[in-house]
Amino acid sequence: MTDTNEKAAPQEGAISDFGIDTTSRSTTEALKDYVAKVRGGDLGSLPALLGLLVLVLFFATQSDAFLTLANVANLFQQGAGIVIIAMGLVFVLLLGEIDLSAGTASGVAASMMALHYVRGGNMMLGMGDTVFYIFLVVIALAIVAAVLMRIWAGAVLAAGAAAIMLLGVPPNAWVEMLLAVCIGCAIGCLTGFLVSRVGIPSFVVTLALFLMWGGVILKLIGQGGTLPIRNDEVLFKVANGNLSTSLSWALFIVAAGGYTAVVLSRHFSRLRKGLVAQPTSLVLIKVAAVVVLAAAGTYLLTLNRAPNPTIVIEGVPYVVPIVLVLLTVGTTVLDRTKYGRHVYAVGGNAEAARRAGVNVPKIRMSVFVICSTVAAVGSIVLASKVGSVAPSSGGGNTLLFAVGAAVIGGTSLFGGKGRLRDAVIGGAVIAIIENGLGLLKQEAAVVSIVTGLVLLLAASVDALSRKRAAVS
């Protein structure tokens, strides 16, 4: 029996059932499919990658300093904070929600971390009695919210924040970083609860919290004050230190080897089971390209890049493995777990997800928990880079740059579309603009204007491609 469905194009009619599914395609066919997909409006991270290339070429020709090893390593360290916050934001954006408070929330986490370090672990003394108790009450509320929604991990981390505050553990970089992450998580529980259970639009909730957390930071640090953390070796090295040469190569082996193993094993298992798969040659080329690029990068970063001969600076910056781990874990969660699938489903059609039995309120709350927790990690990197925490931490453009990074990378603000690596690519674009214009001795005003223009360009490309997809 043949079908009469008018949408099936004649050439498709020739393909029986799922003919295209079971056979693996040739390289030319796969490329043709890709071109068709792009023409159909599904651009993915292509525009951002092209933009990245243009920017690199532009700055490389304009400034001799841009492509030096020292600057490239510096670029990683400058961009990492925003990239990490943007990765957390992708979860929220995937639901079509927004978290305007991620920046200042991360600032609160960083302030607590620095306060714990500076005040020798005595938070009661550091914060003052009243503020201390208010904080504990707020954390208790966060725990209750998480328990009500059965987000156990959130409850445990929030409880961890209270425990560290109450126990008065002596200063220790790892405890302080844990405190920052736990505080971020507690804040996320509150945001998520207000959005998903109380039902306030996320824009309003997070706008209010953006203002509140900004005030809290000021209260914690004091007008004009700063909390230095550069004297702690570990805290300072997070964004300023490098892996030793041997560890750099170890990282390369683990990362490149792991990538190769995962991609190839998945590819061949799909082939074995007769499922739709890319041509083997294409997969091999892709893997080889990634491995070669990673090897070249590792090699270059293990060269001495110190500007003067008396010191030695070499090795892959710590921020690279930090971002890689977050990227790998986050991508696995989004692509390979039930939870990730449900996040996309709620972002695509919340009602359909609800009818399919997905616990929509829980998913909605959880993305805010993830966003603030990851933002706290970003704030550790940002604070480490500067070596101190000031009242302006996490304020200013931090959040907007992070949202911009996600959007430039191709994450849709309407939800349902976006990937974590988009945030990394978009973050790279923003970091390069800031870094390159700085090298060209442009003032902050120009940086803001150019970043804004690039964001506008990215949004236009997205909108136009979607229009095209709708028309075709």
């Binding site: 295209i20 696995t332 390979r336 359909a352």
Partner: protein
């Protein structure tokens, strides 16, 4: 006549001040197709959503296999073996066919999804429905035609070992051949012993596949009776006026057999 597998007794449902369902008694029997008919806004979709746990009911009880059950959400309904194809389809545009078919019931081990298993199962189900228009099961639903989306929604409901399938206007968007396929499928499901409820505005379809016809009129069950005992014209009168001769709301005792 077989015992009902699903039985509703005295179901009431209001949306705020609007009383949409009044004291509905309705039963679904295994191996039979029950057609649920009624004008636009009669409450057919609402009744289906109450059974599926999408809407809570205000009063009344639900019996499944003679046991009173409380269906508080789609998960409860699915656990009992009740599957629904919604009028508005309820698919996630950004997910592909496999992802949609398994949404909420993904397969996998140790927290990780087993894509290969799901893809094969989805393809097998679609093939068993003789779906020939879908190019690849990895096509995003956004790029499917209305009829193809309909087919995916139906395939999703028969993928599971269900006991009751409720189809809310499954043929509304379909062409001639695909309507044929869906009607055949509806019959086949009943022959396999499932209880099937078919909502449709098309009387030809209803008379072709239904064993029993239930007619809703302004939120009340006007009549529920074997299809062979009524004529086309009587059903149309029941739909538009709520009564036809001896049948209908005025003499409820005549409406039950």
């Amino acid at each position: 006549m077989s015992e009902p597998i699903l039985e509703l007794r005295g179901i009431n449902k209001s949306f705020g001040p609007v009383h949409v369902l009044h004291d509905i008694d309705f039963s679904v029997r295994p191996g039979e197709v029950t057609a649920l008919v009624g004008d636009n806004g009669a409450g057919k979709s609402t009744l289906v959503k109450c059974i599926a746990g999408i809407h809570g009911t205000d009063s009344g009880e639900v019996l499944f296999e003679d046991q009173p059950v409380n269906i508080h959400g789609p998960r409860d309904a699915a656990a009992l073996g009740i599957e629904v194809v919604y009028q508005d389809l309820a698919l996630c545009d950004n997910l592909d066919i496999v992802q949609n078919m398994f949404l909420g019931r993904e397969r996998g081990k140790a927290g990780l999804l087993d894509e290969a298993d799901m893809e094969q199962a989805a393809r097998k189900t679609l093939a068993s429905l003789s779906v020939r228009t879908v190019k690849s099961v990895r096509t995003p639903v956004s790029s499917l035609s209305g009829g193809q989306r309909q087919t995916v929604a139906i395939a999703k409901s028969v993928l599971w070992d269900s006991k009751v399938v409720l189809l809310d206007e499954p043929t509304a968007a379909l062409g001639v051949a695909q309507t044929r396929q869906v009607l055949d499928l509806v019959r086949r499901l009943a022959e396999q012993g499932l209880g099937v409820v078919l909502i449709s505005h098309n009387m030809n379809d209803v008379f072709e596949v239904a064993d029993r016809i239930a007619c809703l009129y302004l939120g009340r069950l006007a009549a529920e009776l074997p299809a062979k005992d009524v004529t086309h014209g009587q059903v149309v009168e029941l739909i538009t006026a709520g009564r036809s001769g001896d049948l209908g709301i005025a003499r409820p005792e005549a409406a039950t057999i």
